[in-house]
């Protein structure tokens, strides 16, 4: 999973949890408020009813100016029943009961006068307490007829204005369905959810942008540069401008690469200095051996001459090794000094074949040239270096092919590329060693004992020459059967790399 996705997911989870918590608190507070508001509204409505009913009783009972027992006429009951029936239209209250002083129902929404006869004692007690004046008002949350409600009981009080006495002569009971504020709370929850989703989405987008700009983007750019550096281009540097840890990392990274660059240069310089220093005593040895061989220092026996000859050949190899070391150091410093100009590839092939004659005879390895293209128009290449490269591959093929075997050089044209295939019937290269073939100082395990010569630098130099020509080189090999090395180089100038940097 990508870093940005991971961080985003974590943030979304954190935001979701935080929002849920916050909303829970908001909903609890707001829910309580909504409930209170509903209860208040219901109370107001109940009070209006109560005052109406009380006035009605007062009119019938205070004709003589004193408090007597309230009598309720049949007309009164009809009026009260109408009020009770009209209640079912209200959203706030779904049920109204009016009790007399004996707690008998005299009016009831729905007209069931006996519905509380078997009511729970708890609620009966509540009604009695209110009627007796022990409680000014009775509230209880309960489920009635399968509906969660708030049950509210208020007394109907008869007042004697002259004596200032009051007496409860009945009760009004209203049922406030919890759904009347429950729907409001649900609506609130929905709104909160919508706000939460929009907020989270916005946050994710904003965070994604911030992450991309400040963390993921720079890291991605760093890794592009790091990849180039790991493939050998030590001139690469990351761009860093931020003052945060990422910027600091960029600066440290650049310092690290600069140090690496310095070390690499020191190594190349060391190879260069060492190789140059080796050349002076080497020249002394070679010159003296040659003087001995040529008889300039007096005559020597044939046997002595043979030994000196071998000594001289060894000095020759050493001289080649020094040259290869210097070439590697030059390649690494981008100073191999290529001269890319229009040249005749056929002439290069002629020279190549001439150069193989001697070794081919000595080793008893046949070298066959199969030219499938006839002639190729002149194109740009460094004649000397490309010859060195192809020659090296062919020499290798001969070197690792046992006497009696053969090396076939096939020339083909493939689009804008010339393909040179060098196939031998040699010892082959172990499969797991093929990827290391073009690295410096590499020699396959199965040939280290076969030949003492070979610096392991040849193919590294070959590869860098081919790359400089905008070409490719690859190997197919089967141990014990043979190896085919294919070199592909472009014949168009547009396909040549612009400069010598970064080719290894």
């Amino acid at each position: 999973m990508k870093l940005g996705t991971k961080i985003n997911l974590v943030l979304v989870a954190v935001v979701a949890v935080a929002l849920t918590g916050a909303f829970w608190v908001i909903i609890s507070i707001e829910g309580a408020n909504l409930k209170q508001q509903t209860v208040n509204d219901a109370t107001t409505l109940t009070n209006v009813l109560r005052i109406d009913i009380e006035r009605m009783f007062n009119q019938t009972t205070t004709q003589d100016g004193s408090l007597v027992s309230a009598a309720i006429t049949t007309d009164d009951i009809i009026v009260l029943q109408k009020i009770a029936d009209s209640i079912s239209d209200s959203n706030l209250i779904n049920h109204l009961d009016i009790f007399n002083s004996q707690l008998e129902i005299i009016a009831d929404t729905g007209g069931k006068k006996d519905e509380f006869t078997n009511d729970t004692p708890e609620y009966k007690q509540l009604r009695e307490d209110v009627l007796a004046g022990k409680k000014p008002v009775g509230d209880a949350e309960r489920v009635y007829d399968g509906v969660p409600i708030i049950m509210r009981v208020v007394p109907v009080t008869l007042r004697d204005e002259k004596t200032g006495t009051a007496k409860n002569i009945g009760l009004i009971e209203v049922h406030i369905p919890q759904s009347s504020y429950g729907t409001l709370i649900n609506a609130l929850k929905l709104r909160m959810l919508a706000v939460g989703i929009v907020f989270t989405a916005l946050l994710v987008v904003v965070l994604a942008i911030i992450l991309e700009r400040n963390v993921v983007g720079p890291l991605r750019r760093y890794s592009v540069v790091a990849r180039k550096i790991s493939s050998g281009d030590l001139d690469q540097r990351v761009e860093h401008s931020s003052n945060d840890e990422i910027g600091e990392f960029g600066a440290v990274f650049n310092t690290m690469v600069a140090n690496l660059h310095e070390l690499d240069k020191m190594k190349s310089d060391f190879i260069s200095v060492a190789a140059h220093q080796l050349r002076t005593p080497l020249a002394g040895v070679r010159w003296v051996l040659k003087l001995l061989l040529d008889g300039d220092l007096g005559s020597i026996s044939e046997e002595q001459k043979g030994m000196v000859e071998r000594g001289y050949e060894n000095s020759d190899r050493m001289s080649q090794l020094v040259d290869e070391l210097l070439n590697v150091s030059r390649i690494e410093n981008g100073k191999f000094g290529y001269k890319l100009e229009k040249n005749d590839f056929m002439k290069l092939l002629d020279t190549l074949m001439e150069n193989t004659v001697l070794q081919s005879k000595e080793r008893n390895v046949k070298v066959i040239l199969e030219n499938h293209v006839g002639t190729i128009a002149d194109f740009s290449f460094d004649a000397e270096k490309l010859l060195t490269a192809i020659q090296n591959v062919v020499d290798n093929a001969m070197k690792y092919t046992l006497p009696g075997g053969s090396v076939t050089i096939t020339i083909d044209k493939n689009g804008d590329y010339v393909e040179v295939k060098v196939s031998d019937t040699g010892v082959g290269i172990p499969k797991d060693e093929i990827p290391k073939l073009f690295s410096k100082f590499f020699r396959a395990a199965n040939v280290i004992h076969l030949q003492t010569e070979g610096s392991g630098l040849g193919l590294f130099i070959v590869k860098s020459i081919i790359l400089r020509h905008g070409g490719q080189i690859w190997v197919e090999s089967e141990e014990g059967k043979g190896t085919t090395i294919t070199i592909k180089i472009p014949v168009l100038d547009e396909l040549l790399p612009k400069d010598e940097s970064v080719l290894v």
Binding site: S272, H276, L278, R279, T280, L282, A283, G284, R286, W287, V288, K290, L291, D294, D296, S319, V322, D323, L326, R330, K335, F336, G337
Partner: protein
């Protein structure tokens, strides 16, 4: 020294040198003069031995100072110079020879172990006739080169 060579009398003036150079020693049937500037004792010995065996007059200088003295004494027919030398290096000597109107026609072959393309280019740009890497050429090849240039 041959009698035909008139020793210079101090103070040396361009005129006195010119009169001396007007009759090159070689033209008077003398052996050609090869100046070898090389500071490695063994290589110097081998070079001098081989070249003088080929019938040349050879003198060796180990640094720029002794080289310039030798050139002053007798104008060489060819100079073989190393590049890395104590004090003024081979490029400095080459530049000096090529900047002096009296010696600018003397062929100079660089005989060094530096083989970088830029060293080579610099040598040729400064007027060197050829550039040979000691470890990659035998004495025979070096002598053959001398013959091909002044033979």
């Amino acid at each position: 020294m041959d009698e035909t060579v008139t020793p210079l009398e101090k103070p040396i003036t361009p005129g006195s040198i010119a009169s001396l150079i007007a009759t090159p020693a070689s033209e008077a049937g003398e052996k050609k003069f090869v100046l070898v500037i090389e500071d490695d004792k063994f290589l110097k010995e081998l070079l001098v031995k081989k070249i003088s065996k080929e019938g040349f007059d050879v003198q060796n200088a180990v640094d720029a100072e002794s080289a310039f003295r030798a050139i002053e004494d007798r104008k060489p027919d060819i100079v073989l110079t190393d590049l890395i030398l104590p004090g003024v290096d081979g490029f400095g000597i080459l530049e000096h020879i090529k900047n002096d109107p009296l010696t600018k026609d003397v062929p100079v072959v660089i005989l060094s172990n530096l083989g970088q393309q830029e060293d080579l280019d610099k040598g040729i740009a400064l007027g060197a006739t050829d550039y040979m890497i000691k470890a990659n050429f035998t004495l025979d090849e070096i002598v053959a080169k001398v013959h091909s240039i002044i033979g």
